[in-house]
Assembly symmetry: C2
Homo-oligomer: 388 residues x 2
């Protein structure tokens, strides 16, 4: 643990089939005015909307709604939500949905009461939020981003064609409470389920590929990867397997509530490429990550060879006997490739609506970073071509 | 994740060589009257006491002291601290030391302002604490119990000869902040270091041995065990290896801040036996756990055979080829036995001051519980005789 750190995460988690029973008690901790933020119609179809409204009524709340949050939530939606918060003296933002809805809600909490252009100040310049932040509560219906227990907010500025992530301080922006009932994820279509699974897996790899010490966080990241591989296989075989879906849900929260990232040098370049892919196409986030990952790791593994050897052995159980480190590392990346195929995820950018003309634009506009190597625009373009 | 759970842990961790730089800012969050709780002279010898006093002065605090906390903190010390809190309107209890000092401080926070007999109400009857709880901050000088990030308080009633653990709610009793500088643990004598290491390892095993599902927490517990084995070997070879000591310190916090225990059926019988051993002897906690563990697991593994097979394979890399499950499980327990020997920990009760007359008293007085099997008094006596 060579890198010093501070960590606190105030989210109260309620997990399981009975998690929703805690909603009334949670709501009673806040004032009267609640902004309910959600996506499209699915929570009305599966009954979650009615349950939440009943709880809001029972606890005497005045409810304001912002619906139609998109899978890449836009800054214009953030802006609209911020006006609702300001105009109606909102005491609690209740996000019902997946990462998009929760990320959007954090964006709203940041943009409300902001003097000046919140997009520029918080997402582009990374300024600290100094005004009081409206508390957020969440009811999770789709797993992947861990937005339910972290302070990340990825927002797309559609005019500027920029999808930009921002990590606010956990202490102020992590949801005050999050309700996680794995059964709520049953209605997520299979394509979104496997996309979410790969998003989780990518979060773990992004944090794992960096550093050359033997850090506790690395072992815990490996543990979470192993748990996820096992649960993903069970969920793909039977999407209504409660044990599998509940394991995936908790893998996701642990993968990015930042407790497994302490003292870690990290990578996050796959996410940078995918964010710009998301700004140019409607590609599901996890699917985009899966398409980019294998060519990216084939490109950079030589810069962090011992870690890629460790990954192959500890995560994919590659037997190193009689093989060079290069071969072991490559075999690990091929195991990842097989896993993506097993999940039934598309494996080319072409399949998710990208055109050849987009590739240089994506390569140029994405942020450049890395755990072992920071790729140039040319290298990113090469990687994109390999997965086109 | 078949067992529903709620989880929140409000402790703010500051970790690393620079962690102490956060002390002034933390102290400024609280009122003027601070009760400083510590053990014997070691924090005066290594300079930590002077640093803390300087910080308390710089932030304008009025300091009250309770020192001489023993390694098995006594209820009479808890009682004395509670009187100091009440008489001096204490705003913050600052615990400087290891688990004993922090456990004692939580006991003080519970006992202060308690109507009636706090020992009976909170430790023996397990009543909820309903009065406001004085916040606790910690500066950790010895690792093992994770008391720096949980709400456990093990107290010994010397008159009644009962050592009793109590887990208070994390939300109210977890320290508000904890400062973890691995260098502060360098001055801990080797015997205490290995005792602490085994205490951590035992916490992980106690949580691991229970349940028959394939739960995320099990994978994370395995990850923490693997990290600890690696770091322990490095620390035994060179106690001033910062990387090793820092890994051990964080393994300990993660091992019992309860985040790896969510949704887990657990065991904790080894701790029950050791607590009563601690009530009758001065045996270091981790040493007592090590002595009891191997005979205990030899006794109970058949009741949870698949989990003991998994433990052997995933934690000790036992090759199952050509072996029965029984043999694999037994080999895993023998690996644990070798690890204890490697750490240089005594392996019999005789060596730590127990007498043959004590064994039936310990067997009778300890609580009975278990993840796969709840042993009878006779079984505990048999186990104690095997490690005598």
């Amino acid at each position: 643990m060579n890198i010093d750190f501070s960590y606190v995460n105030p989210t109260r988690i309620h997990f399981g089939r009975t998690a929703m029973q805690h909603l009334d008690d949670e709501l009673r901790r806040y004032g009267r005015n609640v902004l309910l933020v959600y996506g499209r119609n699915s929570i009305k179809q599966n009954g979650i909307y009615d349950t939440v409204i009943a709880s809001l009524k029972a606890t005497g709340k005045e409810v304001f709604e912002l619906s139609g949050i998109k899978s890449n939530p836009s800054y214009s939606q953030v802006f609209a939500g911020a006006r609702l918060v300001e105009d109606n003296h909102i005491d609690l933002i209740l996000a019902v949905g997946g990462g998009s809805v929760i990320d959007c809600s954090k964006g709203i909490a940041a943009a409300a009461h902001c003097k000046g252009d919140a997009w520029q100040r918080y997402w582009m310049q990374g300024e600290e939020v100094e005004h009081p932040v409206v508390p957020i509560g969440t009811i999770l219906t789709m797993t992947g981003t861990a937005s339910e227990m972290n302070a990340g907010s990825v927002i797309t500025n559609e005019e500027a064609k920029i999808k930009q992530g921002r990590t606010f301080p956990l202490e102020t922006f992590s949801p005050r409470f999050s309700i996680l009932n794995p059964e709520f994820t049953y209605s997520v279509p299979r394509y979104q389920m496997v996309s979410g699974i790969f998003d989780i897996f990518s979060h773990l790899m992004e944090q794992y590929f960096g550093g050359d010490d033997d850090c506790v966080s690395d072992y815990l990241l490996e543990g979470d990867m192993l748990a996820l591989i096992s649960a993903a296989r069970a969920a793909v075989a039977n999407p209504h397997d409660y044990e599998a879906r509940s394991n995936i849900m908790w893998c996701a929260t642990m993968a990015l509530n930042k407790i497994l990232a302490v003292s870690k040098t990290q990578d996050w370049m796959v996410h940078q490429i995918e964010h710009q892919l998301g700004a140019y196409t409607d590609c599901a986030h996890g699917v985009g990550l899966a398409i980019v990952s294998v060519p990216y790791y084939r490109h950079i593994y030589r810069y962090g060879l011992p870690r890629f050897v460790r990954y192959a052995k500890n995560v994919w159980h590659v037997d190193p006997a009689g093989k060079s480190d290069e071969q072991v590392a490559q075999e690990g990346i091929e195991c990842l490739n097989h896993f993506i195929a097993e999940l039934g995820i598309p494996q080319s950018l072409r399949e998710v609506g990208a055109t050849e003309e987009m590739l240089p634009l994506i390569a140029q506009s994405c942020n450049k970073m890395g755990g072992y190597h920071v790729p140039s625009t040319d290298e990113v373009l090469q990687i994109l071509r390999e997965c086109f």
